[in-house]
Amino acid sequence: MAVKGILKEGEYYDSVTLMLVARDVLALEGVEEAAVVMGTDQNKSILETSGILLDMFNDAIDSDLLIAVKAKDEAICDAAIQKAKELLTSRHSKMQETGEYTPKSLEGAVDFLSDANMVIISLAGKYAGDEAMKALKNGLHVMLFSDNVSIETEIELKNTEKNMVF
């Protein structure tokens, strides 16, 4: 097992962007743990608890961005860190603060668009089933655009009364 990371100075992202980048990196084959955080003392403590604190992070300050990856070997670590950098660059260019409310959950979206009757779900397979069932229980038709949904989940979803399209 290898743990590697990098420190980037003066780069600012919101919490959710960093968490989503870490999740995308964690989804890569061979990656066991990943975190992308600002270098506060408290975050370093959490990295330590998670077994991914590197010596190079000891002198990091609050405005430093830390990327830490634990993977099967160093090559996978390097590839994962590269992926994180690419994701951050692409999300930064897309980042927009609309200043308006945008729903952050299915329930919120249903409240916000009370006339909506269909939802398109595109999530990693392990999470997609729960969201699809939630949508069906909210009386919505579902178009599920996800790989790796278990066959049991698919049968359960298709046995519900509403329309379901995979």
């Binding site: 919101d14 506060t40 408290q42 990295l47 405005s63 603060e97």
Partner: protein, 290 residues
């Protein structure tokens, strides 16, 4: 050569300097530019972000292209754009509440909590108000983060004010979730003072002392909240508590549009601290933080 353009100023906060100042650009976003100077931070924002004690609200400027910022002869100069600051109305960051309407406030708080729990981002701190949201934190690191937030907040709510220093800085991003939670707590403790005859200045000063960090953006927010100065969206929310349910819902939605989780995190801190303070006072007890 400086050329006047079409940017329009809407308001300026009372803490925005008018004297000649050269700023360092700290960070820029689509609708916000944070400018550093010797006394702190000035945030130049668009109208939909709204006023704040240290905000200059303008329209018609592309913040992402900002290269230089300064104030000369009371004019804010952003690249080649000149904006005469005294022309703007001054944003009033103070808030006045009718102490006889404590019950109305608490009803508004309940509506706010319900809307927040229903609409906040899954990865916000709202799991502190609703345990079911804990399941949104999936990876080991996320769970450690969530547990650390939970433990620090619980300690504070159990009277251990010193745990503010453990909560600050917890969180991944630009303004860590822990800092936003503290921010909300400070606002709640100030509102408690307005609705009772109990001065909370010493508690707010102590929290600010414990929460100070090298994060100049967070530090600025905390400084103003400790003084009882509100940014516009939160002030609107508090006023909405004294209007009707629809107003609370609308004001909550506006709050949730701040950052990805910041609005929800500040709101969570506000609700937790409000419930704690008013629980003590309605039971005839004293504030837990003395």
């Amino acid at each position: 050569m400086v050329i006047a353009t079409q940017a329009q100023i809407v308001s300026r906060g009372g803490s925005v300097p008018l004297c000649d100042t050269v700023f360092t650009i700290h960070s820029t976003f689509e609708r916000v530019a944070n400018l550093l100077y010797s006394d702190g931070i000035v945030s130049v924002v668009t109208e939909d972000i709204g006023g704040g004690p240290n905000n200059i609200v303008i329209n018609g400027f592309n913040f992402l292209n900002l290269k230089e910022a300064q104030i000369i002869n009371e004019e804010l100069i952003l690249n080649d754009t000149k904006i005469f600051l005294p022309r703007a109305s001054k944003y009033d960051s103070t808030i006045k509440l009718d102490a006889s309407k404590k019950t109305t406030f608490l009803s508004g708080l309940q509506i706010f909590e319900r809307v927040l729990v229903r609409h906040a981002h899954p990865l916000s701190s709202v799991f502190l108000l609703d345990d079911r949201r804990k399941s949104f934190f999936i990876t080991p690191f996320e769970k450690n983060l969530r547990n650390q937030l939970d433990a620090s907040v619980t300690e504070i709510l159990n009277g251990k004010l010193s745990s503010v220093s453990k909560l600050k800085g917890i969180g991944l991003g630009f303004t860590p979730q822990g800092d936003d939670l503290i921010n909300g707590m400070l606002l709640a403790i100030y509102v408690y003072q307005l609705l009772t005859d109990y001065s909370t200045a010493h508690i707010r000063e102590e929290i600010y002392r414990l929460a100070r960090s090298k994060n100049v953006i967070s530090d600025t927010f905390l400084y103003f909240s400790a003084k009882g100065e509100f940014f516009e969206r939160f002030k609107n929310l508090i006023h909405a508590f004294f209007q009707d349910k629809e107003s609370v819902i609308n004001a909550t939605m506006q709050l949730l549009a701040i950052g990805e989780t910041s609005g929800a995190d500040i709101g969570t801190g506000f609700i937790l601290a409000s419930k704690e303070t008013f629980k003590k006072s309605t039971n005839g007890g004293v504030l837990i933080w003395q």
